[in-house]
């Protein structure tokens, strides 16, 4: 392993800039101010995107393009670049790029942040904004033949759509360097045992080696953003997040919406509810990571592997606890704005002892996994030094969560941008410097132990909580109408990384724009970086180590 250790934080970059300092730094680039609740916002001209973002990235240290939000107003289109710092995600800035209604063109940010590639393609696909200088501006979620842009105002939803199957297309024809090359084109998926759902990898092989892989997503696109925009803040949106990362990460997803909406409507959550949320969320994280371990073993060992069933058994135990807590096993719908829907199950002692039993047997299980999986020489041979993702590349692609932490990027929103009860508890952020498939797995396994620590502390707290102070829900108006034109972007550390939500209020009880920043979407984008030049089995392993959920990638 010859990769350098991750860069030590640049002192300049870590410095906090006041909005005015930033404005001074950008100088003439700033046309106007459009501050959001979470960050100062600078309006710039559509042809200065690259310049602005370069300045912010290189001179102010905003090295994390979290998400690109596109939206349409009556008189303009708008792309918002939500920037953060990996060293301190509480320092945020929004770059707002208006574009003309009749001819929505704006400069692409792709040369500055690689991650903008997919985000801008999505913006083009759903909203219709075109990005100049984008390397590959095609639809990403919808079929190539789709007519219109579904989130734009003039979209005709009654128009019949025809999605043709280009059966005889030869994908090698146009993008092949040399007519005599003896490469082979292989469709991995959308139905393939290792794609973890309906993912299509357009793969070009040279023998067994991968020359090029292009993920083709959108098979599970369910208009989640559109649906959320049609729901009221108070109750109708909360069930949807469960359906993004549906691999039992439900409470973590719900927290993303809860956090954004609570900050938007200025709701304080009672401390008791925060502890319950923290405990439930960490249970979800264990369940999600157990499934990641199980399926990764499936990818590397082949079917009929014992590890899969062992990990599923452990997940089952935590799933039972979640069922006791929320009444549901998959789609929890347990959080409410301002709290949770109900208190711990009665008798409380029984729930606590069950939880403690789980926590007590967990170290034994983890040790077994280490014996069975990580200590196995063949497993190490397969995963160490394969699927390399250097830290700077990970950052460039906006990779977060265990994928980034497996590349030594010390970034965890639970610690860096605290919410819930995390900053009161004693736990550590796990990083591994290996940058390979093995490190990513190791990060998840060690995070399970950290989550168990958190749950243990939460149980202690909840057990001693005075009976008359057990408030599970703050006072929240029956109908929420956040201020007109209030905009917010808030993220939480979900099982797969930074799950963020952007919302714009328009004075009604429904959000005017609801944008989901899916960690899997950004993480999946790194796959070609890891896969090119490797063997097919390594691509499968790399994909498994990314731990994507297509429900969250496609939304």
């Amino acid at each position: 392993m010859s990769l350098e250790a991750p860069d030590t934080p640049d002192t300049d970059a870590a410095d906090e800039h006041t909005p005015d300092e930033l404005a001074a730094l950008l100088g003439d680039l700033v046309v106007d101010r459009d501050d959001h609740l979470n960050a100062p916002g600078f309006v710039i001209r559509p042809d200065t995107v690259q310049e602005t973002l370069s300045v912010l990235k290189e001179q102010a240290g905003y090295d994390h393009l979290s998400v690109v939000t596109a939206q349409e107003y009556e008189n303009r289109y708008e792309s918002i670049y939500h920037l953060k710092k990996f060293d301190d995600p509480t320092q945020e800035v929004s770059v707002v790029v208006p574009a003309d209604t009749d001819d929505p063109v704006s400069e692409s940010a792709e040369p500055v942040f690689r991650t903008a590639d997919w985000h801008e393609r999505e913006a083009y696909d759903l909203m219709g904004i075109e990005y100049d200088d984008h390397p590959d501006l095609r639809r990403i979620l919808l079929p190539e033949t789709w007519q219109g842009h579904p989130l734009s105002m003039d979209y005709d939803k009654d128009r019949p759509q025809i999605a043709t199957l280009p059966e005889h297309a030869n994908p090698l024809e146009d993008h092949h360097k040399d007519a005599k090359s003896d490469t082979m084109f292989l469709n991995i998926g959308p139905h393939h045992p290792a794609t973890h759902g309906v993912l299509h990898l357009k793969t070009t092989l040279d023998g067994e080696q991968v020359v090029d892989v292009e993920p083709d997503i959108g098979y599970l696109h369910r208009c989640e953003e559109q649906m959320a925009q049609n729901g009221t803040y108070r109750h109708q949106i909360m069930p949807y997040p469960d359906r993004w990362d549906y691999i039992s990460a439900g409470l973590l997803n719900e927290w993303a919406y809860a956090r954004a909406a609570e900050d938007l409507a200025d709701i304080e959550v009672p401390e008791y509810a925060q502890v319950i949320r923290t405990m439930g969320a960490e249970m979800c994280r264990i369940a999600a990571h157990m499934l990641a371990l199980a399926t990764f073993a499936l990818d590397v060992n082949g079917d009929f592997t014992a590890t899969f069933m062992y990990a599923i058994n452990d997940r089952e135990r935590v799933q039972n606890l979640l069922e006791d807590l929320t009444g549901q096993r998959l789609m929890f719908n347990y959080f409410r704005l301002g709290g949770v829907v109900w208190d711990l199950p009665k008798p409380r002692e029984e729930f606590f002892s069950k939880t403690r039993d789980f926590l007590d047997q967990l170290p034994g299980s983890i040790e077994e996994y280490h014996n069975l999986v990580t200590a196995n020489e063949i497993f190490q041979m397969r995963t160490i030094d394969t699927g390399i993702l250097p830290p700077d590349v990970a950052k460039d692609y906006g990779a977060t969560g265990p994928v980034a932490r497996g590349s030594g990027v010390d970034y965890d929103l639970r610690r860096d941008d605290p919410y819930g009860y995390y900053d009161e508890l004693d736990w550590d952020v796990v990083t591994e410097a290996g940058c390979d498939n093995y490190s990513r797995l190791l990060v998840r396994m060690r995070e399970v132990e950290e989550s168990a620590k958190i749950i243990g502390q939460c149980v202690d707290l909840l057990e001693d909580w005075p009976e008359d102070e057990r408030t599970i829900q703050a006072n929240v108006p029956r109908t929420l109408r956040p201020d007109d034109d209030a905009e917010i972007y808030r993220a939480v550390e979900a099982a797969k990384g930074e799950l963020g939500i952007y919302m714009r209020a328009d004075g009604t009880d429904k959000p005017a724009r609801f944008k989901i920043r899916s960690p899997c979407f950004s993480n999946l984008q790194t796959l070609p970086e890891m896969a090119n030049g490797e063997y097919i089995p390594d691509v499968i392993a790399a994909l498994g180590s990314l731990d994507i959920v297509l429900g969250e990638v496609d939304r």
Binding site: M184, L186, G302, F304, A306, F308, P537
Partner: protein, 357 residues
């Protein structure tokens, strides 16, 4: 078990039924082959739908088939009906005669291998069809036809995954057949013969005694190093974890058998299981004293069955516990590791045998 004194199975039938002459020999041989073939197929029938499920379940904390009949045993006919009743889907563009022949060649080659395996005695019957001079060479020859079938299937399926599986099968078999045979040659040096019954007979002497127990001179005890080498190469030869890469589910879907369904699929599975049993039989004969075991010689067949099922169990254990190596690593292990080790073993054995004898 002296070589000359024991009657082979066809001879026994010819004598018992009183079949004279050449025609009698042919008829007796056919009957004997049918019996042995059916015994092996019966093993497969138990192993595929039932034993494998039960064993894997035991390894992975599950229960598996337990609803149909006692211990779920009736799942065997149920599965058989289910598998055969499925539609045989013939994909467009397959290379017809080859595509149809591949699923027949695989089980046939493995079954052929059993023709020279001395499976021991059960009462008066000696389950041994033929005992040619070159028995061991013959059994390897039969067993390696299997890879031809995999290539046929991979090539004829008109599917890229199948193609990759077929190519992997060739690469793997080339890399492992040689260490396998070279290691087997060290056994031949010990035994001084290629004749299967001779190899078994050579393992009958007592190696040493521990607390009154006689440890026989099975080659697994005489040369454990060769045994481990042979076992490993054999796992690769039959394509089981950690060397199941011609199939590699989750990577190349199901490799060469991706496009096969219904009866053809059953034939492939059958072939694989028979191949596993043949692998077990070869190991039993060359390293585990053939049908030898405690008790009278007349129950030797039962010991032989125990040995090959033991090997089957071992393959399932490996499958549940071990990750799969990558194709390039597999080739590297084969050519750079196993080959060198097997030649070292061969030379060492030759020197030791030469010095002692």
């Amino acid at each position: 078990m002296g070589t000359a004194s024991v009657q082979l199975f066809p001879e026994f039938i010819a004598e018992t039924l009183g079949l004279p002459g050449v025609i009698g020999e042919v008829v007796a041989a056919l009957i004997a082959a049918a019996v042995v073939g059916n015994v092996v197929l019966a093993f497969t029938g138990v192993a595929g739908p039932w034993a494998k499920r039960k064993i894997t379940a035991a390894f992975t904390d599950r229960i598996a088939v337990n609803r149909v009949g006692p211990f779920g045993l009736l799942i065997i006919p149920a599965s058989a009906v289910q598998l055969l009743a499925k539609e045989l889907i013939v994909p467009e563009g397959v290379d017809r005669p080859t595509w149809d022949l591949a699923p027949i060649v695989l089980p046939a080659s493995a079954l052929l291998g059993f023709s020279v395996i001395p499976m021991g005695r059960l009462g008066p019957i000696n389950f041994h069809l033929a005992d040619p001079e070159v028995g061991l060479a013959l059994v390897f020859a039969f067993a390696s036809i299997a890879s031809v079938s995999l290539v046929m299937a991979g090539y004829a399926s008109n599917n890229k995954y199948s193609m990759l599986g077929g190519l992997r099968a060739v690469a793997q078999n080339l890399a492992y057949e040689i260490p396998l045979i070279v290691t087997a040659m060290s056994v031949v040096i010990f035994a001084g013969t290629l004749r299967m019954s001779g190899i078994v007979a050579a393992q009958e002497t007592v190696l040493f005694s521990v607390a009154g127990f006689d440890i026989p001179s099975w080659y697994a005890f005489v040369n454990p190093f060769a045994f481990v080498l042979f076992l490993t190469a054999n796992m690769a030869e039959i394509g089981r974890n950690p060397f199941d890469i011609p199939e590699a589910p989750t990577e190349i879907v199901a490799g060469y058998q991706t496009e096969y369904s219904s009866a053809y699929f059953v034939l492939f599975y059958l072939g694989e299981f028979v191949h596993v049993f043949l692998g077990g039989a070869i190991i039993a004969v060359t390293f585990l004293g053939g049908a030898a075991g405690p008790g009278p010689e007349s129950i030797g067949f039962l010991w032989f069955v125990v040995k090959i099922w033991g090997f089957f169990l071992f393959t399932q254990w490996a499958r549940s516990a071990l990750p799969r190596v990558r194709i390039d690593q597999l080739i590297e292990i084969g050519w750079k590791g196993m080959l060198v080790l097997s030649f070292a073993n061969l030379v060492l054995t030759a020197v030791i045998v030469g010095v002692i004898a």
